[in-house]
Symmetry: C4
Subunit: 225 residues, 4 copies
């Protein structure tokens, strides 16, 4: 992580790529109504992070709506207000050495975050798609996705996140209850892959539960043999 | 509201933007079969409102299919018939000082409007997405979405709407039973955001009900522990 | 119907428009895997009908994949084989004086055609979207959508269709069991509107059934008050 | 199969077409997060197969991300690593004389592969869409779709596949449990049609099960007549 890449990534490269990602995820219905935020590391020491400005509709996202912030969340380039959740992005970059952090608001992450809040998370295992998560080599992998209670107090939430990330050093994503999903990656490309993999798995798990319940039901139905 | 913006919005600006919104919402399946209508205020005193002509397919909506009407609903520019529901748009502009009113016909608003008609509306609370509604600062917000019985008698429906809006001075949207959803905003951008937020929340609430029922069911299933 | 329009519609106009419609419906998932077929009347006396050739993927449909056939189904222009179901298109044009006939294969029409086969059709009523069907003035309209048993014997199926259309002189659409939906209109634009309206209503009805069952279930659940 | 087509298909033709297919299927949500792989035969004797490189996002797939491999899976043209599953593609080409093999990761194939793993497959019958499968002439066709247990040991999985294909000489597709779907065709166009048909049928079957369960449930509900 301390070693700089041979070819420097420029702020405008990252901004262009974030804008494309926003437009793409908007089409999937994962960033409706200006929700969600996207960031990519421009430089590590000292940290310069490109991040979507607050209140931007992602379906029309353009590179000039991407801000640059420092480790304290202060804007060092661009016009606009970074999301209050910028702090969580910085926390993930710090804790995981991530090169990109992406946060979506999908229907399925919203529902499953609520359903599994009481147990602090959910297990996903046995799916081939798990191999899309960096470092996972087999579908027999058991992925724990922590769920954090939603909170408007960002310092407090960032503190709890730090704890959760340190207690779960190998997790690839987390959910905020009735709020949405965060994932990350070494690069923007890897983080995009992780979003698509986790969103797919959450939908699969939720729909599988519904189908499985039908089956369970069938077997206990009076008169059924 | 009495103060004019420094730079005047022209009729053609509003018409272009409404056409874009129509094409976008059509892609989401919220305006199928020429359904729904979209309006934006051009001038307030006297009221000049740009509004989609009746019977236009929204997937190919163009600026020349947008009419200008006055406060009585009479066409003051353009060729075509305004929707019979233009009266509801004018009512919302008057009651809320809205700069734009958008009306969609989605599957989820159709279903939930029916499901919650008997109680006159539904509560949505605890979702981060609620913060996309203007003035809402926390997911702990409790949003009441009134449901009005559908009616082909527009003066009567407009009268009931006036009453509902005055009884619910802070609501951001309402449903017409087995018909669709209305929301609004100070600007077109804000109204678009409200459509996306409310449509997302309605889908989340409906699907959460289905998942929660499974869970309740599981617990009462004979032989389940 | 005997009166020719002032401006003649050319074969290539109809072909271009059918190709656009095919690409649009493919995106909605209503014509997957070369399924479905689309036709528009070029001339009535004698009948010349533009119709999609058999086996064309609708996502890439182009005007040169549209054939012209006569009342017997013989190709009078273009290269290719018309769908075996061309006979049903001709039947609808004859029975209803339609200017366009569109046939889609959606998930919801497939499912509901099976679910309601035993009663020979389904009623849809109380939805505002019904007003998108030509001649319907109120959501209180009661639309009967006949379901015909699927059949590979086209003369026999066309005979049954003739009977069903004559017994249901005001219906706007029919389903073939576990097969798909047919609707029509005076013009291509009207027929497109009917497709979107009927597909919307079928999805609404199917999903409403699922939600309503939950509610019924809740009320009979042991321990529920 | 031994007879060469009059006009030779070039590697770049196949690569361009595979890239288009990838982008199209990505839009449908069938190849999220770099999942799935696509191949087309360039030459049969000796076998030269164009195939997607491992780890490519399909939404931006371009022809230069397509590799050429021989019958052993060794790369004979292009830069990159072929998917570990290239072996399964070669197996299908060999066993079926296929000209193209397409592998998708959809929600519905993932769920149904799990649901029907215990019985080794599922039957689909009675749907008109079955006629989209090569050689099927009537909706009364009974299609058996085998399900294989997922496995990271490719030689072992290829061995089991060989057995399954030889035991089911007329099947058009198979599923890997909690993994995805494989289908094929004489040409790329036919294989694309098969993907769309099988994906449609899997969704229809899964949703029909849910609706049917409701109906069964209704009839056994206490107090229901």
């Amino acid at each position: 992580m301390a070693i700089l890449p041979v070819m420097a990534i420029t702020r405008s490269d990252v901004a262009e790529r974030l804008a494309e990602i926003g437009r793409r995820f908007d089409q999937r219905g994962w960033m409706l109504g200006t929700s969600g935020n996207l960031s990519g590391v421009i430089e590590r020491e000292p940290l310069r992070l490109a991040i979507t400005a607050s209140g931007t509709p992602k379906g029309e996202l353009s590179a000039d709506q991407i801000l640059e912030i420092d480790v304290t969340g202060a804007v060092t380039h661009g016009v606009g207000v970074p999301s209050a959740e910028a702090r969580l992005h910085v926390e993930v970059v710090r804790a995981r050495g991530a090169g990109a952090v992406l946060h979506t608001h999908s229907i399925w992450s919203t529902l499953l975050s609520d359903r599994h809040a009481a147990t602090g998370g959910l297990v996903i295992e046995g799916y081939e798609m798990l191999k899309g998560l960096e470092g996972v080599k087999t579908h027999e992998h058991r992925e724990w996705i922590p769920v954090l209670e939603n909170d408007q107090d960002m310092p407090r939430l960032a503190g709890r996140l730090q704890e959760v990330l340190s207690r779960n050093p190998t997790c690839h994503a987390f959910l905020l209850r009735r709020h949405g999903m965060y994932t990350w990656g070494d690069s923007l490309a890897q983080a995009v892959r992780h979003v698509e993999i986790v969103e797919f798995l959450l939908e699969a798990v939720a729909r599988a539960d519904q189908l499985a319940s039908w089956d369970a039901r069938e077997q206990t139905r009076p008169g059924h043999q």
